[in-house]
Amino acid sequence: MNLFLRAIAILRFCFYVGLILVSLGSLSGMFLVFYIAKDLPKLPSPLSKIIETPQTQIYASTGQILIHLGERQAVSLDMVSKNFINAILATEDHLFFKHRGINKLRTLKALYITLTSPSGKVEGASTITQQLAKNLFFSFKKTYARKFKELLVSLQIEASSTKEEILQTYINQIHFGAGAQGVEKAAQVFFGKTALDLTLPEAALLAGLPKSPTNYNPFRHYDLALKRRDIVLNRMVQAGFISDAEARQAMLAKPELQHEQSDSRTGSYFLDALIRELISKYGEDVVYHGGIKIYATLDTRLQSYAQQSLKKGLENLDAMMGITDGAADHPQGAIVAIDTGSGAVKAMIGGRDYYESEFNRAVKSRRQPGSGFKPFLYYTALKDLGFHPATVMTDKPVLIPVKGAADWEPKNFSKTFTGRIILKKALTESVNTVAAQMVEKVGPDAVVRTAKTCGIESPLQEVYSVALGTSNVTPFEMAAAFSVFATLGVKHEPFLFWRVEDAYGRIIFEHIVQEKRVLDPSITYQLVDMMKSVIDTGSGKSIRQLGFHRAAAGKTGTTDNFNDAWFTGFTPTLCVSVWTGFDKERKLLDRNNIGITGGRGAAPIWADFMMNAVNSDPERDFPIPDNVHFETVDAVTGCPPDGQGEGREQMSVPLKTEQQLCRDEQ
């Protein structure tokens, strides 16, 4: 009896205490609701409005859309594969259509586990609505206050939206990793298809990602992603969405990933440079959230050729150097193509593989151009000293005293000296001693001035060796500066976009192609003729050997230590600069330990690109100015051949009307 009475008493006590506690809990809950409600975030109406941010679109000059920025590709539920909807419901919240924002039993269970777990493990029980509330309004900091607010917001979401609206908003904003937000974007990023076309294995794989987008990133951890996918499929079976057989069949499938655009990064060095410029001009908000339209200068055809040529060229370089696929360090490269008639950048590749390294070597990497800088010196000498291509110099050991420093004693690449030589031949063969003598005469400041006039913006040291390319420049600058030679002295500022419009097509900015004559056309023509010889018979002759036979001029560049190999050259319409080298201090040496020059490393890339790039253009040569005529001279004496120098090379040189042959300058 006593035992029975005691039990009754305990029961009674528990009941009343429970009742009081529940009452107090309810009262304090009500109080909390009123207290916290005023600080809760306002909900937009309709809820889907939050994902309707306008996209900024960037178009190529050829009309294709290159990229959408600030993109949230929202899709309605009927544009999403049923497989995915079932998979995400089974994984995240299979009772979604039955609750009003919280799954009470699951919450109580989670609360019990959280409170009783000795390890302090926090059990999650968030419904899709709660997750949506958290993703939209709250930080990921785990606090009870945040949890409570999140719960309240989810109740409001349920009270103000239909289940379909909530689910639609949810699937359009969840993060799947690899920068993909929203199911449509994720379907495109991972599988290159729309959300509507997702198969069961693909849908299940995607539905498993939001739990841990980084750890299950299929691009990096494909096996883990598949394991997670199998868990999703099992849950779909448990939730009754699919049969066991269907799940087993789906588990056998290995969805093929789309590797072309493996994440939401631009995937393009050109676009990175363009976006950076746009941001500096208009600010991030306008660029990413303004829904503007940008008409870029990029020619997708040329960009594709540039990509292929650089890839092929660098692979050849690997083979030349004996670098295998698995090696830690591969040579890098950059290529920039500029339309000489306008300054429009038609193609830009800033590295071997964007997804391995986003560092844009085309515009950010300043490297020594070596002999690639000599054309600035030659122009200066032709202009300031009255030299012409047949002016005779002497290729001999040179020692130039430098004030406050050691004497400068430049050496030829060949380590030999040829004696008397005309300028055209000296540039063709890239003779350093002749260049050194010229820079001593004109002064390094004059050479720097010419380079800057042509568009070199990097700081250049006014030292003698600047003429041999010891000051660092970027491939972009080299392409821009050499395009001034291509137009015989007319400078066009290089630019990346033609026009910017707002969402309604109103013009915000327009690039006007302005011409500025900065170099003398006749002297520039003489220089261009000498640079043509570089390609025809000189250090860049590999270009002709590779089959590029159009009128073109250029200059190779190799640094003393073989760290950099350049070729910058142009046709009358397109100027292209190619750089190859290692990011780190490392020489470009072939298997026989012989240094790789610009002629071997960069020129073949240039040739391969140009053969495709100008293939469909009409052939044309550089226009000869009216006051220029050609004479054939002996490459040693600079005089018309007199029959005495049998076997000596003869060269055709352009001379201005007032210029005379056989005037030895030394």
């Binding site: 709250f138 409001q156 306008s342």
Partner: protein, 291 residues
């Protein structure tokens, strides 16, 4: 009256007490409370409805609103840019003179000028002055014969640049106009208070009006219209013509002539431009008159 609780003395007593009306009611109410909550989710609905009712007065905070604000900022920035461009466009295309056009364009600002507006501004200038901007033949070619697509004006420090642009956005012709030059061009035919001898460039070539006109009227009749190209300014000027000066420099094939009037408000000099070769003929006559 206090009633003290006592322990039931029998099982029936216990039974009665446990299943008393109060206990059953309390238990049922509690059960209904929980069951109805699980069944109908009324608590969630109640709280949800309350929060919906307070939604409008709550702050726009949280990640998603931040993105919304960025969009708003972007739209405001764009709107400002577009409105500014539109204002400039309207001002430029309503400008009555090149100086008004220059005043409406700050450095870095730009506008596409309608062809008709450019023509109007150009034709509003006195013929000899308009040559300083662009010669008529070039303008005719640009406007009617070339590949001109539009006329683009950009504000620069102290003036404007006018670009004649083809369909490929290439500049066919570029004109730079400094504000002070434009003002001088536009005011070329405006009277100036003062006398000829105070104006540099006329000294030593100032003639009494009688001598000047005697020499002028001796010229063949077909030359005289080339000497006094726009006589309106002279005809409109009040007062007596005292002296006439010939400027010592020719610009664009014209030479400035200064006509000094003794007007009620003081001396005024009215400027006209005569064709260089006609002024040269006149000068020969004047030398003869002077002798």
């Amino acid at each position: 009256m206090a009633r003290y609780w006592y322990e039931p003395l029998s099982y029936s007593e216990w039974f009665k007490r446990i299943f008393s009306f109060l206990n059953i009611a309390l238990f049922l109410l509690t059960a209904i409370f929980f069951i109805s909550e699980f069944r109908f989710d009324w608590f969630e609905k109640l709280v949800g409805s309350y929060l919906v009712s307070t939604n409008e007065v709550r702050p726009e905070t949280g990640a998603i609103w931040e993105i919304g604000k960025q969009t708003t900022n972007a739209h405001e920035s764009l709107k400002t840019m577009v409105n500014k461009n539109e204002d400039i466009r309207q001002t430029a295309n309503a400008a009555g003179s090149f100086s008004e056009l220059v005043s409406g364009l700050l450095p870095g600002e730009w506008v596409t000028l309608e062809r008709q507006q450019f023509k109007t501004l150009y034709l509003s200038l006195e013929k000899s002055s308009s040559l300083k901007i662009i010669d008529p033949a070039s303008l005719v070619w640009l406007l009617n014969g070339s590949d001109l697509d539009r006329i683009f004006c950009e504000g620069i420090k102290g003036g404007i640049k006018i670009f004649f642009i083809d369909r490929e956005n290439r500049v066919i012709k570029e004109i730079e106009l400094q504000k002070e030059d434009i003002i001088e061009i536009e005011n070329a035919d405006k009277p100036l208070a003062g006398i000829l001898t105070d104006i540099a460039g006329f000294r030593d070539r100032i003639y009494p009006a009688r001598i000047f006109f005697d020499a002028l009227l001796k010229l063949p009749a077909e030359i005289i219209p080339d000497l006094i190209v726009n006589p309106e300014a002279l005809l409109e000027q009040e007062g007596k013509l005292i002296r006439v000066g010939i400027f010592n420099e020719a610009v664009n094939g014209y030479i400035k002539l200064g006509f000094e009037f003794e007007a009620p408000g003081g001396e005024q000099v009215v400027f006209l431009k005569g064709r260089e070769w006609a002024v040269w003929q006149l000068s020969l006559n004047l030398k003869g008159e002077a002798k």
